[in-house]
């Protein structure tokens, strides 16, 4: 893994988020160990791996959403443009303004479509033209044409795929630099999935995207870089701890990975 990354020194220099020797605990249970990872700027990075290996956990630690879980503890360093995200004087709210998140299940607010999109801008004290922001965000999320005549209707009136794109518009409207997506398509039909994948390709011009996916084809279609995580049993109580197996260009991971377990996983032999 070290060797292959040497070819990407350009990439490395441009990383937005860096994880250094990150261990994550829920109470005394160690969920993730020794993760070292650099998220490159304006690229799509995919996290793949079997369920329970800590992909969501790692994703949430990138914008301090894990703070809401009282048993959560992190060791090691996570930096954003060189700033330690877990330093004492960091305001998690400022972190989340810059690093937005789209969740597995579409979770629009119980508000109108317009207010869903405008919410982030409003709480952040956005000074510009709100109507314009809502329109551009909905356009970016490829939803504008479908909802432009019913912005006053509830976000719940949309289909699942539309709701997820609404959630993406909501995240985009908060004007983050990084967008984290935790299995954003797992609750969607194939057509909505394709729409969202196209959307990600467009978004990466302006944003850095990290996506967790269980869908190998999706990773090969959208991701520039892919990180494969796995979990191994520790002790004799059946506890599993997740770790990063391999991180490389997506083509490399899927065609010629360094590790046998990566090869087994991407060829569908386990997980």
């Amino acid at each position: 893994m070290q060797e292959s990354l040497r070819n990407d020194e350009e990439l490395l220099r441009q990383s937005v988020i860096e994880l250094m020797d990150v261990d994550i605990f829920y109470g005394t249970y160690k969920a993730v160990k020794e993760v070292n990872l650099n998220i490159p700027k304006n690229k799509i990075t995919a996290f793949i791996g079997p369920s329970g290996c800590g992909k969501s956990t790692i994703l949430r630690c990138l914008n301090r959403l894990n703070d809401l879980i009282s048993s959560f503890k992190l060791k090691g360093r996570v930096t954003y443009h060189g700033q330690d995200l877990y330093a004492k004087d960091i305001d998690p709210v400022e972190v989340r303004k810059r690093i937005g998140m789209v969740f597995q299940r579409p979770n629009p607010f119980p508000k109108t479509i317009y207010d869903n999109v405008a919410y982030g801008a409003r709480v952040n004290g956005y000074k510009g033209d709100l109507d314009e922001l809502v329109e551009t965000s909905l356009r970016r999320a490829a939803l504008w044409d479908e909802v432009k005549d019913k912005l006053g209707e509830s976000g719940f009136s949309l289909s699942g795929g539309q709701q997820q794109r609404l959630c993406i518009a909501r995240t985009v409207a908060a004007q983050p630099e990084v967008v984290l997506m935790d299995e954003p398509c797992s609750a969607l039909d194939p057509i909505s999935t394709l729409k969202i994948e196209e959307l990600m390709q467009e978004l990466k011009e302006n944003y850095t995207i990290v996506i967790v996916t269980h869908n190998m084809q999706q990773a090969t279609r959208v991701a520039d870089m892919t990180a494969f995580f796995n979990a191994e049993a520790v002790g004799n109580k059946g506890n599993k701890v997740g770790y990063l197996v391999e991180f490389d260009q997506t083509e490399k991971i899927f065609s010629n990975p360094e590790e046998q377990s990566t090869k087994d996983y991407v060829s569908g032999r386990f997980g």
Partner: protein
């Protein structure tokens, strides 16, 4: 070769299971009718007795002095609204904020567990104890004396547990993911609670508040020795709220035991209005619940 025997699919009405089923269905139907009888009888009785006095005088006149005819109970209607209003002004903010603390900010600590327990205990406390509490706190201590305020405090104590519990539950139903989403776009905790979580839980909260109002409006015991009673128009000014005030429930209690027919009729009419008030608020609560978000 495959041979199967297909038994008859017809219902066997003499089998013990079928008979038992029929008997049990009949029994539970009977019990349902038994529980409905007192409810319908009360409603019917109150309607029949109170309906004859349901005229405009009832809503515009003061009660007549003993021995005289006519009159109404306008002062008691206003008084009930005033006392319940005071109770709402006290109990709703305190109760809702307490529930917000329990559900959103306590993270299930020991303190929160004990408050939840105390709330449950409080909801089982007989209403007369709430009256004694307000009497000791405000009346016998000489702070305000027998007054609308003392009555309102007594009712507020009764309303609090209902409001706290229903709000707490309404907040718990709001999916965790919505809070995460709000925080994920850079909202502070208080913004998430005020703009996202509370509006989502509003129908449930409104239901709890109306149920609490419906219960408080009919309470008599805690008002007898706090709000007392008055035969005159209530004075809705800061000084007036520190004076005794008439309420429907105490009027019913006072007048029903008088030996004068006009007063007894007024007591029935007062009961009818109380029943209609409670019915109305319960229907409002139902309507609010129907607009549930989650």
């Amino acid at each position: 070769m495959i041979t199967t025997t297909i038994g008859s699919l017809k219902k066997n009405s003499s089998s013990p299971r079928v008979i038992l089923g029929t008997v049990m269905t009949g029994l539970s139907g009977l019990c349902m009718i038994l529980t409905l009888i007192p409810l319908i009888a009360v409603l019917f009785f109150v309607f029949v007795q109170g309906f004859s006095r349901l005229d405009t005088d009832l809503f515009t006149q003061l009660p007549p002095p003993p021995g005289l005819d006519e009159g109404g109970l306008a002062n008691a209607i206003i008084g009930t609204l005033v006392v319940v209003g005071i109770a709402v002004v006290i109990a709703v903010p305190v109760g809702v904020l307490a529930a917000v603390y329990l559900s959103e900010f306590s993270h299930g600590n020991k303190f929160a567990t004990s408050i939840r327990f105390a709330t449950n205990v409080l909801s089982g406390v007989p209403s007369i104890i709430a009256g004694i509490f307000a009497f000791g706190l405000l009346v016998s201590s000489g702070i305000v004396g027998f007054s609308a305020i003392a009555g309102g405090v007594a009712l507020a104590v009764l309303m609090l547990p209902t409001i706290i519990r229903t709000t707490d539950e309404a907040l718990k139903i709001v999916p965790q993911e919505i809070r995460w989403a709000a925080l994920g776009v850079g909202a502070y905790n208080y913004q998430t609670v005020l703009k996202i979580v509370l509006p989502a839980a509003l129908p449930g909260i409104v239901t709890g508040i109306t149920l609490a109002i419906a219960r408080a409006a009919g309470e008599t015991a805690p008002l007898i020795f706090t709000a007392l009673f008055s035969n005159f128009w209530p004075n809705i000014s800061p000084q007036g709220l520190a004076e005794p005030i008439a309420t429907l429930s105490v009027l019913v209690y006072n007048f029903a035991i008088l030996p004068f027919k006009p007063q007894q009729e007024l007591a029935w009419a007062g009961s009818l209005i109380l029943v209609l008030l409670v019915l109305g608020t319960s229907i409002l609560a139902r309507l609010a619940t129907r607009r549930k978000v989650y």
